[in-house]
């Protein structure tokens, strides 16, 4: 999914479990969380890319109508989707960090085998995890704090 988003020139920052994994976490995550730039052009590119993956709202009965267009992103900027390629959560801001510009500023480039993308850095991830209050996020805080300390030691 990340490769396709990068290839489509979508402006986004990877947040959540996958970003944590890139920074050294050993937790397994199967979904992709991204913070996207909410400009009309970027939302158009994002929606266009997602449409190819047959997206629908996660844990919602399939009978409800759902239109994924620019207006939908404006009205409901946070979406939790399931696609042919897995689950993806989209948001235009991250609690504890701020809007896209602030998330982008707190992100660093990460090189995967295929593409380079931006991922929220460890301090940013910690702020986000502390801010959400969800048990599954709170559970990850000790691991992220340990990673911060281990990285500081390695840097010395």
């Amino acid at each position: 999914m990340i490769t396709r988003l990068v290839e489509a020139d979508v402006e986004f920052v990877v947040i959540g479990g996958l970003a944590a994994r890139a920074h050294g976490s050993v937790r397994i995550t199967e979904d992709l969380d991204i913070c996207y730039n909410p400009t009309a052009e970027n939302v158009g590119r994002l929606a266009g890319t997602l449409r190819d993956w047959n997206p629908y709202l996660r844990n919602v009965d399939p009978g409800l109508p759902w239109t994924m267009d620019e207006r939908a992103f404006r009205d409901t900027p946070v979406m939790t989707l399931i696609t042919d390629h897995g689950a993806i959560d989209l948001m235009d801001r991250v609690d504890g960090v701020g809007d896209y510009a602030e998330v982008y500023a707190a992100a660093i480039p990460v090189a995967s085998d295929r593409v380079t993308f931006r991922a929220l850095d460890l301090p940013g991830l910690l702020k986000a995890k502390r801010a959400t209050g969800r048990p599954k996020d709170r559970d990850q805080i000790p691991e992220l704090e340990a990673l911060m300390q281990l990285r500081r030691r390695r840097a010395r």
Binding site: L18, A22, V60, L64, A72, T76, V110, A111, S112, L147
Partner: protein, 167 residues
């Protein structure tokens, strides 16, 4: 699906918990936090907020409007003299409602009351006490981000094979 909490219900309605409680009281509705009720109350709130229609009347309009779907995507109501009309894009409303319902079921977190417990330890010692395997973290840090992500792909693939193997 599990019954919703007040906070989840308010998320689906698109309002604060306080607004929901006041509205349910004004409409003489009980405290059953169901998706169907949230659907009607969410549109009630839109009509009430956009046109200043009193809540009880807005609730009636919302019920009428939602009843036309899926046969029609737009509901239009005229006054008796056919001078004033109210139009509701039911499909567009249901689309936004579905997004909020998905959010409430996937990302909603109950607000913690009071101050969070202060942890005395932080960092490696706290993580070890919490059950984190520090050795695994050290090994992970020896790899490049690309290698870590490749491992994640392998882990997810392995999990997938386990799921397939389950009866």
């Amino acid at each position: 699906m599990e019954p919703m909490t007040l906070g989840q219900f308010a998320t689906v309605v698109g309002a604060s918990s306080r607004w929901v409680q006041n509205a349910l009281r004004a409409l003489a509705l009980g405290r059953a936090y169901t998706a169907e009720r949230a659907k009607i109350l969410g549109l009630t709130r839109e009509i009430h907020g956009a046109f200043g229609v009193p809540l009880v009347q807005a609730h009636q309009v919302a019920r009428h409007a939602l009843a036309v779907w899926p046969d029609r995507t737009v509901w239009r109501g005229d006054d008796a003299a056919r001078v004033v009309a109210l139009e509701v894009n039911v499909e567009r409303y249901l689309s936004a409602y579905a997004v909020r319902l998905s959010l409430a079921r996937n990302r909603y977190a109950e607000r913690r009351r009071g101050r969070p417990a202060q942890r005395r330890k932080r960092g490696i010692a706290a993580a070890r006490a919490y059950g984190v395997d520090i050795g695994l973290l050290r090994e992970s840090l020896k790899r490049t981000p690309a290698e870590r992500l490749r491992r994640l792909d392998q882990d997810v693939e392995f999990l997938g094979t386990l799921r397939v193997a389950e009866p």
